[in-house]
Symmetry: D2
Subunit: 476 residues, 4 copies
């Protein structure tokens, strides 16, 4: 399979397969049919589960050096197919090729880190002699795979967010069944081919596009040990309540905010916020949705920001210089259009943008917004940002916190005390000093508080979620 | 308040209070009314929640040295009240005083460990320069309290299992509302008095006996950040599905097993298994319920075991030399009686015991049982143990695993390879070589897999559950 | 023994003893004879070594809970004798009682931390399966005591700097022979009494005043596993070359510097620098010897600083309100006097102070100094500080680094970038933002680079120096 | 340069160079001149030091991702030159090609681990609020390179033991000057070429054959921050006393022992001991020099062992099937011959071997030896092993400990209690259960106690030796 292929078979328990349920994948930029693949139904899912369970013991006993070898081989093969993988991502998701190449690079990095971490699974030596009851004893803790993993990944980083489930599972020694987004299943199926070329025991990984209903049966099935979901808050939290006895990890969305203080490097702040606001049309969990600028520099910031918006290159996502292109589909673009309209009707002011053309929505900047407006309070997942002024730094922190979400935040400042206040008071998973909330490297702990999620990804952290400690107490 | 008191007020947000809902506590040994306390209703619970939330920020900023001081002061005051606390436990639970004294000792240890760990909350320094995207940056992770904790604790270790929720919460900086068992609320209310004597901000701890219904409203209330429950599997797993967005930790039961291999120290194995089987009438989560003995030594083991059973002193739990006394109530003793009868009717053989007298049930040993019998397959939580023979060590491991539960297991052996096989293959949270599954020291990770629970207690591990990481990425 | 005692026996292998070699201890404030103790000669040292080696195996097997109990008991007994211990320190060292009380508090803290750390000795679980050669194997590392420790401690913190050797040794399970300063042996001998009251095996600790020559035989004796020395650089580095096969840890001196940037909180900086410069007449390893102030605030800083110097209360160190009193002896006061004179003759300007009266030397402030002057370039160990201006922050960093020493440094600033530059570029063991170099808490890693030392104290770090890893590789 | 080359230039500060001091390298198997290289004199060493110091700051700032890239590139290039590197090793050292290939594999592994560890340098977050003095503060510790490293490596693993100094230095960010053995400098010079092909700043690595005298000037030169030496005990310990202020790590030799208990897998023990005793003619630091066999199986073990010795293939080390070949030079073979003779004269019994032919010495087995004989008490570094019987396991442990050395030991047993006793009582750096003392994987902590060394290698541990902690205390 490569970018030119028109048919992608699904990857079921170590075999590439067709099913009766055709899934057509379209290019969001031109609405042309890109390729055809298949949906797994319940029988195929059942088969994948059986195969996964049958290799469980084999995976437990796979020496770490072997896991390392497999994961590095995947990284190496991906490295040889960077262009191909990136073009598939761009074609299925409408993501500008520049960003798609970055995503493949990161996915390679994610596998590399997982390779390294597979040799560094936690293991503890515990002194048991703290009380008389334990005298003469010592203990060790080894971490065993938690069991079969159900992974569900979204369309916006179709490769790397799936890899953040696949690579840790291999490192931890867990079999995994991954449901990619039905809009963007091709890049992970291309990856399946790479995985299949390694010595990973067949059955350890299945990549199965599914209907939401079939996917839900993974959520409730007690044979899975962990559900790891990246997607929308509403869906994620509902899954948690249906998940039965299994562990649940949720990476959901947010309405991330940035503070630009008067002592920030203004040009740097503008440049970074432009990327944060409009990269991949804002279809990013940690998209910069709200910018709070200290009043002394508000006008200058806004002027420079709007000027920069106007230089963004719209166009075919396959073009190297394209900055912004279509959203994933018309429905989402329409939703964004409606939210902006609603905001304008409620008193918001449009600084630029605001128009839609099919699935393309212009980079849009609003001010005079209120936290009650959807453009502020909900996750917009589109190329829209609000800029508001603040007087006092502590107020700015409160504005960031005035949200049901708490994923990441950015603070542009050079004051130690502001950095400290932000760290102490911002109710988010991560704070980026002099950077945008969208900053992420693949080994850092990443995830949200409040409605934004449960647990942390970042390879090592995901691996730990996939492990169960087992204690051995023995005589010394 | 002390052992002689007849009225125990509940501890609500830093105040001792009465309510309209009287709760009479009886001594299970003589069925006399021991004392009167109160149930909190929903208004009292609401008040406790409000007070707890109001001190949340204060607790976040409490320096670790202060938390250490408070926790050590609690330990020290408990140390001065050991006899009193132990007698309360014995009176409310029927637990022989020898074991009750041990429980108070352990609760003191639990607070001491929490004191020490409060100064050692996790904190990480992270190199961010792994890729070009992160060059020039570094990160630190601080761990913040997860928010208000709902703790629900059982009757069998009325003090120490509650302390395993209270002490970590104070160490982590989380306010906590604890619901003790309605049968045994007195020892924790006595502890409340000790806690109240410290500088812990009022509201940080509430100890509220409640009806199950009121308790359930803690489970569903989204203002709690964590639910930590110790109790029965059925109740626990249901709570998980109702818990909404909060984190959930479950310490449930099991039907723990022991293997006695032919190269074990037989006398030691007998002695330890007697304790494991009958201490506190088997009303212990990690009670030794199933013993598998290698066939070569089966007869000798069984003979010595039965002989030892017969030396157990039955009597008033307040007597120093009493080994075994009443169960918590008649209903439970009847349940055990029925399960044993059912087993005998299905072909099991009674080696000793089998009689009930009110809430007292004799130490009972069965053989020729099957895993389908309740005495084997369910958690008996009574003074009953089964002894079966095995031929091959690997079969013995399989017998232990032939259970829906997986808490802890014991293996008596001196062979490295058997130890390794047990560690690799037993599907439990902890394996005790040359000891019973009931072995526990309070700082070790403790908890079950399969239906036996979710997560690990053991002070440090509970504290970690009560913390949420927050990342700060900054220029280097 | 207590403060009123006139005869202190030395502590040799678990016994209090006299020797033929009388050691008279004088009060530096009034030159009166304070008490009499004894020097150990080579025969007594030999006896102490033999006894120490004879308990080596017992200490290895002492369960951590027992070590914890012993160390906490010492802390608790010290707590009951705070006043007595502090008065002994003041009497033998001339240290104002306020600071002496602080020192005892810290010594109690040091024992408490050691107690906690004794339960947390390092221990590792290592995955051995990284390559085919290790498949099927795993390893654990336990840390064993390094052997007999030779500790040599100085006069300036006669109790706590000795405790930084004694407490870690007990925690690590190493026997130790401590040589306190011959000027100030009384507080450690008082401590010996406390230690002797515990269950620590006799012989594990000896506290022996000695001549330098006898002390040197500890340095060369191959039966010691570690030499840990706190004192002057010249002596320390010579010891390293004579130490044979044993490990060596050196905590030596420095000429610590402070930077006060224009964005600092000026009043806070003045106040802290006063303490840093003159506490215990500058007889502190991390005494603030050099202050670099940004030129814009130089005049204001200097004016306020000189004003504050003038408020320092000179007097009897036993008086609660005394800030500054005599130095340890006339010889040292004369040395300081000469260095200042020499500086003034070479062009330095005297801002205040400069006079000597016996062993008392006035708080003295100089400016217009050069790094070649002894008051700048060597460790003055007296109540003298230089204040110089700087223009550019990076120059200030270079001035701090323009020294053969590198212990700690202070930087008063609120700029993230200055903090980062200081961290990256200052060649010292520790940098204190908005504090003086003299900041130390007893669990932090403390020690110098360049000529200031080798290794780090801070309880956990000292313990690690006293341990030797031992690896066990076994089948999994 | 490759195996066919006849002239190897030395690697000085990023340049390949000739000097006036020719060094001829001979093949120990046939005494033919293999190639010519050069010795660095003091001027060349000085130049290398200057260049190394000039890149010190550049290396500190090298992002970890860059260091990872460089180290992985070295590993990858070595992988492409395995055959060539192995043949150079065999030619210069006489090591059978099979073992030489193993050594190259391990050296690649060493670089790979160093790459991974370069991203995982230690870094700590420290809670400073344990006491009132630290309230409001927190600290982080970053680890900085210790400075210029002097590495001295031996002939017996000419590549991998040098790599255990080079790879950690690059990972830690330290410049390094390596002195390879003058007998075997070619493989490291070949490696220099590979290193030179990377983006490692020139000057960071120099590889300079030197006279012992010139090498000694590295030992005493205060511009080096660390001396890391692998070689003979006499030389190593002397260096420690001459090393001035720098840190010192010593990997020296031993006379490693094995215990074979009556419950061991005898055939496995024989097979492993054969390798341990005769691989590379015993010229291995952890060569199996002493075997203690339980008396019940002594005869059987010895019979099988002697039979196995006789199957060892002697021959040209370049032949794939050669097991044993020449020693490094005649002088060493003669020394071994003399030691064996001396043992026989003192009552030892020869079980096989005992003859010398030039630099070839036969695999030799002795019994009835005494610890006072050189073949037992000193490091023989030749193909000689002693086999003695023991009755009681504890006696066997004492026999192992009856040595001035303590590197590693092997214990063949299946009893938990014997494993525990060995771990507790053997005074060595590492104990291998069911394996020989020669077991080593490159990431495990490796090193000796007693006269066998100071510190531990094993990539992570060596890196830590090359780092200096620096503390930053700041407001929270």
């Amino acid at each position: 399979m490569n970018f030119m292929d028109k048919i992608y078979q699904i990857y079921l328990g170590g075999e590439f397969r067709k099913t009766d349920d055709l899934l057509r994948v379209y290019n969001p930029y031109n609405n042309e049919e890109l390729a055809t693949t298949y949906k797994a139904g319940k029988p195929e899912l059942e088969e994948a589960i059986i195969k996964a369970l049958s290799v469980k013991e084999t995976l437990i006993d796979l020496p770490s050096g072997k896991k390392y070898g497999i994961l590095m081989q995947i990284a190496s093969q991906m490295n040889e197919s960077i262009q191909d993988l990136a073009r598939i991502i761009t074609a299925e998701s409408g993501k500008p090729i520049r960003y798609a190449l970055g995503e493949v690079d990161r996915a390679i990095q994610t596998f590399t880190i997982a390779a390294e971490e597979s040799k560094r699974l936690p293991g503890e030596y515990i002194d048991i002699e703290w009380t008389a009851a334990g005298e003469g004893k010592e203990a060790i803790v080894r971490y065993f795979p938690v069991g079969l993993v159900a992974g569900i990944s979204p369309f916006n980083f179709p490769l790397n967010l799936a890899v953040h489930k696949l690579a840790p599972a291999i490192a931890a020694g867990c079999p995994i069944i991954l449901k990619p987004s039905s809009s963007t299943p091709l890049s992970t199926l291309r990856l399946a081919q790479i995985i299949d070329n390694t010595e990973l025991p067949k059955g350890a990984v299945s990549i199965l596009p599914m209907s939401r209903e079939t996917g839900n049966s993974m959520v409730t099935d007690e044979r899975f040990g962990l559900l790891t979901f990246t997607g929308s808050p509403v869906v994620g939290w509902k899954m948690k309540s249906q998940a039965g006895k299994k562990k649940v990890a949720l990476e959901l969305g947010g309405n991330a905010g940035v503070i630009v203080s008067e002592i920030a490097d203004l040009d740097k702040a503008v440049k970074k916020c432009i990327t944060g606001s409009f990269a991949y049309s804002g279809q990013v969990c940690i998209h910069t949705q709200r910018i709070y600028v200290q009043e002394k520099i508000f006008d200058e910031f806004t002027r420079k920001f709007i000027a920069a918006v106007k230089t963004l290159k719209k166009g075919d996502p396959m073009e190297e210089h394209t900055d912004i292109s279509s959203m994933i589909d018309d429905a989402n673009a329409e939703r964004v259009e409606n939210w902006v309209k609603e905001a304008l009707e409620s008193g918001a002011e449009l600084l630029c943008g605001g128009n839609r053309n099919g699935s393309y929505y212009e980079p849009t900047v609003l001010t005079n917004t209120a936290s009650s407006m959807k453009v502020c309070g909900l996750e917009i997942f589109g190329p829209v940002v609000t800029i508001e002024k603040y007087t006092d730094f502590k107020d700015a922190l409160e504005k960031i916190n005035d949200s049901r979400y708490g994923l990441q935040a950015g603070v542009f400042t050079n004051e130690i005390s502001q950095m400290n206040d932000a760290f102490r008071h911002l109710e988010v998973g991560g704070i980026m000093i002099n950077d945008i909330p969208g900053f992420r490297v693949d080994h850092m702990p990443y995830g949200g508080v409040k409605d934004s999620g449960l647990g942390r990804e970042g390879v090592k952290y995901s691996i730990h979620d996939m492990l169960e400690p087992r204690l051995l107490v023995k005589d010394k």
